[in-house]
């Protein structure tokens, strides 16, 4: 909660500027550096997940292929889904939460900087924990939603599922800790004048997402805990011999699972809602409605989960209710789509790379959304569910939606994060190959699905009418590999060689563009007092924001908070020079995270009947964790 303090407070120097070595990264509590760590780690996992996808597609290129074994294939698609959802897209969003939220609301850091570092380290260690097994052919193989009873010890004797259960449990802790942190940050650390209805749309969508996280993760935590108990302690939650009902898992999982998909898309929606106005030189069309529709989507998202279960025989009444609830969601989402288009209408649309990705999101997500509505009609879904038509649907929303939006965000904010632009030409190549590649990959899947190809099959027989579509999808994937490789190259190289970007390379409207790029450790030397939704346009081009209501700077607030009217900050100092107290770097969060993961690892030994070892490791981990926590709690933040 290193927010605004009196410049008079005794200044603690933060090690940042003097020290940029590895240790400074390990001990950092700076939301910007943590955001950067998230970004790099998540991009790495995206490559891992994509690589798995590439293997999947290669195996499916032709009928009766023997490129990988059935067992390997099952591990590949399970880990592909798990990696992309939990290790790539969610953390990519988290990277932006970390980096942007404080900057957009005019704060100096998140509410709990050390908890923030903790979240990252738990994510990293959890990601490694769940990913390593694939190198030894013992990766999880139950599918990304791990339906019982296939995951119960009776049908899965190996350690595969153990890694999945514990891994997801660990990752859940990371997401939850982060969510509490961001909720507090957004509620409490907004700069003077930054009322809720003045928050940038990205912050708004992130705000909604944090609530989805704190409400959606507990159910899966419980479901996983049951499975954990079943696997390690012989309980009966999913034990069919004891009369367990497999639908229990399915319901608990999807109560989490559906809100999860909106957790994956809303941050992307937020990002394009920043990009589109900037490059249309127009404010977002219907700001309030955009906010309400976001909230609506999040809220409705808790009432539709059973649309993933239309084939399990819930009965006509339940099917009907969940079908209608599901269709409802199309309405607020549609509003977003149309408002985005209206945002560009009668604007000056500049086709920069981020803008291209943002426009592509509108175009591609709509396709995925429409196939979603096709799923939402249960009788029709009985022909579609568990076929490639579903695979097509969710890749259009996930790749065409989340990934497109996130790429838009990366190209848009890279200059802010690094002070340098990504290369435009390479960016265009990346975009077009990506755009064509994804359609070539996923569009044919609609057909293979409707032509009778079930999903999660490691092979298919010849002459079934699947061949052409799979061939196309595979070549499309190879295009995506090339596209991604170009992006990776551009991303790495531009760090040193990209052209220099100033404070505000794109003509943005929000606070993050009023400070140097990359921002100094303290973000804002003086906290600005916000008087409208588009503070920077107020400053640079007042006629643009003439149409919206402003509040004039309030003298009392200013004296109370030492805020100053919105202004551009050009020169950078260290926090020490400005006497701004910064949180002290510390490795305690890492230590606590590490010992917690060790504690979880202990369980693994139970399955191989090494009770002594299991107990020592678990108790050791727990003891270390508590000790670390104690030190953490008792050491001052600043």
């Amino acid at each position: 909660m290193a927010s605004i303090a009196h410049p008079t407070t005794a200044a603690h120097a933060s090690a940042e500027n003097e020290n940029t070595g590895i240790w400074s990264w390990i001990t950092t509590v700076d939301h910007k550096r943590i955001g950067t760590l998230y970004l790099w780690t998540a991009l790495f996992f995206f490559l891992v997940g994509g690589f798995e996808a590439t293997l999947i597609r290669t195996q499916l290129m032709k009928p009766n292929m023997g490129f990988v074994s059935a067992e390997t294939y099952n591990q590949l698609f399970t880990m592909h889904g798990t990696t992309m959802v939990f290790l790539a897209v969610m953390p990519l969003s988290a990277a932006f939460f970390n980096y942007l939220i404080p900057l957009q609301i005019g704060a100096r850091d998140v509410a709990f900087p050390r908890l923030n570092a903790f979240s990252y380290w738990v994510y990293l260690l959890g990601g490694i924990f769940i990913t390593l097994p694939i190198l030894f052919q013992v990766a999880p193989d139950g599918g990304w939603f791990g339906y019982a009873p296939l995951t119960t010890p009776r049908f899965s004797t190996g350690p595969n599922i153990d890694f999945w259960v514990l891994g997801l449990q660990i990752l859940g802790i990371s997401s939850l800790a982060a969510a509490f942190n961001f909720i507090t940050t957004i509620v409490n650390l907004r700069a003077p004048g930054m009322s809720l209805m003045r928050m940038p749309m990205f912050t708004w969508m992130s705000f909604v997402v944090q609530f989805l996280i704190i409400l959606a993760f507990p159910p899966i935590t419980v479901a996983l805990f049951f499975l954990l108990m079943d696997r390690f302690f012989g309980t009966n939650f999913y034990a069919i011999a004891a009369g367990a009902d497999p639908l229990l898992w399915q319901h608990l999982f999807w109560v989490f699972g559906h809100p999860e998909v909106y957790i994956l898309i809303l941050p992307a929606f937020g990002l394009v809602s920043e990009v589109l106005p900037t490059f249309s030189k127009k404010p977002l069309f219907g700001y309030n409605v955009m906010v309400y529709s976001g909230i609506m989507i999040g809220f409705l998202g808790f009432g539709v989960w059973a649309h993933h279960m239309f084939a399990v025989g819930m009965g006509a009444v339940a099917d009907s209710i969940f079908s209608l609830m599901t269709m409802l969601i199309a309405i607020p989402t549609g509003v977003k789509i149309f408002n985005w288009i209206a945002t560009m209408w009668s604007g000056e649309v500049r086709f920069t790379v981020p803008m291209k990705f943002a426009i592509a999101l509108i175009a591609m997500f709509t396709i995925g959304g429409i196939s979603g509505v096709m799923h939402s009609s249960p009788p029709a879904d009985l022909q579609q569910t568990d076929t490639y038509f579903v695979v097509a649907h969710f890749h259009y929303v996930l790749f065409g939606g989340s990934i497109m939006g996130i790429f838009a965000g990366i190209y848009f904010y890279y200059p802010k994060m690094t002070g340098r632009h990504l290369n435009e030409t390479q960016g265009n190549w990346h975009f077009w190959l990506n755009f064509i590649g994804m359609n070539l990959t996923f569009f044919p899947m609609h057909f293979s699905g409707l032509m009778g190809m079930s999903r999660r099959i490691y092979t298919y027989d010849a002459g079934q009418g699947f061949d052409l579509f799979n061939m196309m999808a595979t070549y499309g994937t190879y295009l995506l590999v090339v596209a991604t490789a170009i992006f990776v190259w551009n991303f790495v190289r531009s760090h040193k060689h990209g052209e220099i970007a100033g404070n505000d390379p794109w003509g943005g409207a929000t606070l993050e563009w009023s400070i140097p790029s990359p921002p100094p450790e303290y973000n804002f030397a003086q906290i600005p007092e916000v008087t409208s939704r588009y503070p920077l346009w107020d400053l640079k081009d007042p006629k643009m924001t003439a149409g919206i209501d402003h509040s004039h700077a309030d003298a009392k607030v200013i004296t109370d908070t030492h805020a100053v009217p919105v202004h551009e900050e050009t020169q950078r100092h260290t926090a020490k020079e400005l006497g701004i107290p910064m949180p002290l770097p510390t490795a305690k969060p890492l230590f606590v995270a590490f010992s917690m993961v060790v504690m979880f690892c202990g369980l693994l030994f139970l399955r191989i009947d090494m009770f002594a070892v299991a107990l020592t490791v678990m108790l050791g981990g727990a003891a270390a964790m508590i000790a670390g926590l104690y030190l953490w709690l008792t050491s001052p933040l600043e």
Partner: protein, 107 residues
């Protein structure tokens, strides 16, 4: 700022019921609990279709009292009311929906 937040606290402290009220509340909670347990031992009541509903209502009342007074949500900032009631509603709805889905409740 310090004085202000301090002021907020003090203000809250005064708005709060004092020890006596807390005691009253405690007595009420105890009484309701006694009634609940007593009902449990009257077969006639247990048999009646109103047994479960009335028990659930009683516990709901206890729940509400503790939250409003002991957790002083009644007197606290509205942001806290939202942070609690929102999730609570979704949680309740989810339980009920699940019970219908598993035929443990039915129309």
């Amino acid at each position: 700022m310090a004085h202000e937040s301090a002021h907020v606290d003090k203000h809250a402290a005064h708005a709060h019921p004092n020890g006596a009220t807390y005691l009253k509340i405690f007595v009420i909670l105890t009484l309701i609990t006694v009634v609940e347990v007593w009902a449990y031992y009257i077969p006639a009541l247990v048999a009646s279709p109103l047994f479960n509903p009335s028990l659930i209502i009683m516990s709901a009342v206890k729940f509400a009292i503790v939250v409003m007074f002991y957790m002083h949500l009644k007197y606290d900032h509205k942001i806290f009311k939202m942070l609690f009631s929102g999730p609570l509603v979704i949680a309740m709805a989810t339980i009920v929906a699940l019970l219908f889905l598993f035929r443990q409740l039915s129309f």
